[in-house]
Amino acid sequence: MAIDPIISVAHVTKRYPGVVALDDVSLTIARGELHAIVGENGAGKSTLMKILAGIIPHYEGQVSIAGHVVHFDGTRDAEQAGIGIVHQELNLVEELSAAANIYLGRELHRWGFLDQTHMLDAAGELLRQLECDIDPNQPVATLRVGDQQLVEIAKALSLDAAILILDEPTSALTEFEVARLDRVIARLRAQGVTMLYISHKMDEVFRLAERITVLRDGQLVRTMDRNEMSPREVTHLMVGREIEETTFNESRPRGDTVLKVDRLSLAWPGHARGWRLRDISFQLHRGEILGIAGLMGAGRTELLECLFGASLVPPQGRVTLDGQAVRFSHPAEAMAAGIALVCEDRKRLGLFAEMSVAENITLCALADATVAGFLRPGREVRLAEESVSRLGVKTSGIDVSITSLSGGNQQKAIIARWLLTGPKVLLLDDPTRGVDVGAKAELYALMDRLCRQGLGIIVTSSELPELLTLCDRILVLSEGQQTAEFTREEATEERIMEAATQVAG
């Protein structure tokens, strides 16, 4: 077993009303190792990490750090014990600057007054180490999700923790940033920092970890050395069943053009660059999946928002849907015309947390459940149940709160919502972010199925392998401009990265 255990978890159980999040889990982490924790959504990974980080103070069992039994009453206790955590769901105060967030609760001060200069300098230094070039004084709300995640990482780094927990740290980072993070992790490893790394991504896990623990349904399935098993076998352990490698290049018949975009541009008033998007032109056919690749800030989300009528500044250029020129000033118009958008940040922009699964699913298609202007609960229930079974949403019922579903199932529910509107074009903004392997495969299969039924799909993603698996064609954006378009045969990760980093003239 591990020599010199720094963390010892003994028979830890955490119960919530109705569900056992962790069931008698015991493991030890060796000092200085990078230990990966893998498992599907709902397996208990985040719960275990939250217990270690002091976020969940009440549980059964015992946790020891460096040989001493500990009871954390809050995150401050954990921080003092030398544990820092980078959350999966960003925990930033949007109104404050990056520097303020990094030093939140541990502000540098001089005689009770905030030492802004020092904080800005130190924050700037940390961000530079992460090779992030944002202004540390910038309010976090103005940053894109990827940058926000880097601020979160910087916050944990500023703790100088002996133990660092990273919960899906790369879920919103592009390949470029992931490489940078690898460098940071290598540096930390050299300094002897123990790291707990939660991830769905097998390639990351197998690249970085020395040992891997698999959790499933709250129980520890196995802890092993990296070279004991292959990624495929580990995935099998996570899911408890075989996951076939999904390939879709089997002739997906391509129909006629459903969407034509001609020199679409989106102004960026007040910004040096002047344009968020400049002269984007492409066509989307029925039965086709078009991918949009690019780094953070390239304009992928903005492009989808423009097509959906959701951008606050009206775009310029021409968009033609099924031959008809369209100009949407509100998502309601786009919806009526047959376009659907599944947003990037489902917690903030997609879910109605107070509503049930059924209510979330039927929201855009309530007209189908009304008779003479009045909602018929029976019809609504039927619509919801059909959607749930059609997309395989795993839920204990359609009346439960949407928040009780795992990330992947929440995503399916939102996609179900949009499918009920009978769209011609489905826009998906990073749909598999925070979704586990099993659900991801199901989403891929779903997209393939929808295409064969005649939908046109545009999908953005920061995971290049995903785009290469799914898409018939890939468009690459760099700083708001279109730098390349590849067919499936032409596309390779290197070519896409090259186009994505090209500084267009």
Partner: protein, 405 residues
């Protein structure tokens, strides 16, 4: 037992709780009241409660609607005052001699006054919605402006048209109509039913909840959020206008200085006690109705039990009830985490404040008949000690060693 489950599901847990609370309050009042008014004169009590609850309820429905959409409307009381002024003003303009002499105004004038006032209510709601959606003011600010501005405008109008601070309403037809408790009650029930249908059984209602729950997600789901806000604020203002019309008829005078002062807080309290969350997206019409009823019953109960004017303690009661109701809800939601109320410096300081508060209120209540007698002061002291002991017990209970982590 499927029937039992079906019956239980008719009301939400919060609503059942309110119903139970109402029963308890009625019971306690019946017993503690020295005259046992509820027992011996139920008709009169029913009459009073019905009037109070209906009048409050009519515009509380509007407040609840706005709160459910995630906004807030602080202007209800001022809209009531201003609408009353408009109603009286229209009557003055159309039939100045009749208003002066006390002769009947005639149905057409009354209809015009009611119609015009409701239209003005719509205008006010529209203005609110415009300020909030197009100009971008937070709802708090937009309706706060109305809160202070409309009353003042009403007073100016009254001066201008009636050359006095009040407008007297003599017309018996109008007064009989608006004074009738039966009318008030029926109107309240009908409006509540209509609102319930809107919120639970129509697409617009579902969209209103979605707007309150997550505005940005609602917009991105193709919901016309600005139009829905227009609807919500208009309805709220129009309901307040309706209440204003009823109040001036009931009281027989338009006094924009005093009419409806602080009523908006009672409306918001009724909505919150009834289960509406100020975050938006949560709340029911039935809950609001029960909230109104509960609030008025407690106020009436306390008045009967201590033989003082109901309004003296009204504010205190409403304040305490709102805190208790929302705290109760929060506790129910955070069932698992062991919340500690009296831990740390803040807990001790707050505990001290509660002890003082309890003592003072008890002394006041005990002294309602005799004033500042030694007996009442002693009662106050005794209650303070009891509160202190209770807090110490709770504090000890909270700090008991937990098992496990």
């Amino acid at each position: 037992m499927a029937l039992r489950r079906r019956l239980l599901a008719l009301l939400e847990p919060h609503e059942w709780g309110l119903l139970l609370a109402i029963v308890i309050v009625v019971g306690v009042t019946t017993v503690v009241d020295q005259h046992h008014t509820y027992l011996y004169d139920p008709g009169r009590s029913l009459h009073d409660i019905c009037r109070q609850a209906s009048m409050l309820g009519i515009f509380a429905l509007g407040s609840a609607l706005v709160i459910i959409t995630g906004g807030i409307d602080l202007s209800a009381g001022s809209v009531i005052a201003f609408s009353g002024t408009i109603c009286g003003s229209i009557m003055l303009l159309l039939a100045p001699e009749a208003m002066e002499s006390g002769e009947p105004l005639g149905t057409p004038v009354i209809v015009a006054a009611i119609g015009g006032t409701t239209l003005v209510g719509f205008f006010i709601g529209t203005l609110h919605a415009w300020l909030i959606t197009e100009v971008g003011l937070p709802p708090f600010v937009a309706t706060l402006a109305s809160l202070v501005g409309l009353r003042s405008l009403g007073r100016a109008m009254t001066e201008y048209l009636a050359h006095s601070t009040q407008i007297q309403i003599f017309d018996t037809q109008f007064r009989d109509l608006t004074k009738s408790v039966a009318l008030q009650g029926v109107l309240f029930i009908l409006l509540a039913a209509a609102m319930w249908i809107l919120l639970s059984r129509t697409v617009v209602g579902r969209h209103l909840y979605a707007l309150g729950g997550n505005e940005e997600a609602a917009r991105l789901s193709g919901i016309r959020t600005n139009r829905l806000k227009w609807l919500a604020y208009s309805i709220a203002a129009m309901l307040s206008s309706l209440a204003g019309i009823l109040y001036i008829g009931d009281q027989g005078v338009v006094d924009p200085q005093t009419l409806g002062r602080a009523y908006e807080l009672n409306a918001i309290a009724a909505a919150v006690v009834g289960g509406c969350s100020l975050q938006g997206g949560v709340g029911t019409i039935l809950g609001t109705v029960l909230g109104c009823l509960f609030l008025r019953l407690v106020i009436d109960g306390v008045a009967k039990m201590i033989h003082s004017g109901a309004d003296v303690y009204e504010g205190l009661i409403v304040g305490i009830l709102v805190v208790l109701a929302v705290a109760f809800n929060e506790l129910r939601r955070a069932r698992d985490t062991r919340k500690q109320f009296f831990s740390g410096a803040l807990g001790i300081a707050a505990g001290t404040v509660l002890v003082l508060f309890g003592g003072i209120v008890a002394a006041l209540l005990a002294g309602t008949q005799g004033g500042a007698t030694p007996r009442s002061m002693f009662t106050g002291l005794a209650v303070a000690v009891v509160v202190l002991l209770a807090i110490v017990v709770v504090h000890r209970y909270e700090r008991r060693p937990k098992h496990g982590g």
